[in-house]
Symmetry: C2
Subunit: 141 residues, 2 copies
């Protein structure tokens, strides 16, 4: 198993509701979709996120997929204001705000957590100690 | 919420056991770690994966994190043989093989699914219809 992630697939209860959240609510642009079944979005350099029925995901994996919140995805942005703006955009789209934007003093990150209609968690963060070189190498101060 | 993923954090029951799986078992190189607390790995261009206690992740998010298998991460590789090799590397490391490598005839992908010690699912896939341009743009045929 290579030290590489190329796809992230979120299992959702209702693909239409999930698509409305990401596309209509947040304004994301689909990369490719099979209507009513799966929608893919490009979310990074060579990186794709898919939303797919929990049942379909379980069938594909060969073992039932179960709901839960054992992970978080993060979208890092460039400023405190960008974190605030992202949360204010997500709220009316139907996101549940789990943590309002605030400074995490111990690690000096300004962040918030929101959940999509299935509870999948997104951290929106401004981390002054994070940098990404042109070749994609990440540095965490 | 930008159409971008920069961090993926997996909530795990036992950070030491999870670290053994990824570092000792799979041979992954940590990017940065706080011993006993969190380990980060670079898993793509500007993309980081962290393994962190489920309790810590819940505290950070402002709402308890619960176990479940509502998602899958995928690592795309370049050939059928590379899929087989990745599964044979993961098995002795302690991965549970949920789906042995095989062709998914309908979508013409050769793939397997394995689960880490917490059940977090990884698809290892060879997709001849997938290409990534130099600038990171993904094409799905």
């Amino acid at each position: 198993m290579d030290q590489a992630v190329t796809f992230i697939t979120l299992g959702v209860a209702d693909v239409a509701a999930s698509r409305r959240f990401y596309v209509d609510g947040l304004g994301w642009q689909p990369l490719f979709e099979v209507p009513g079944d799966i929608t893919f979005f490009q979310v990074g350099h060579g990186l794709v996120l898919g939303i797919w029925g929990l049942d379909s995901l379980g069938d594909d994996a060969g073992a039932p997929a179960t709901p839960g919140t054992p992970f978080a995805l993060a979208s890092n942005v460039g400023s405190v204001e960008a974190v605030d703006a992202a949360v204010e955009r997500a709220r009316p789209a139907g996101a549940t705000v789990l943590r309002e934007p605030s400074w995490h003093e111990a690690i000096r990150i300004y962040h918030a957590y929101v959940a999509d209609p299935d509870g999948h968690r997104w951290e929106i963060a401004f981390n002054p100690g994070l940098s990404v070189a042109e070749d994609g190498t990440v540095t965490l101060a």
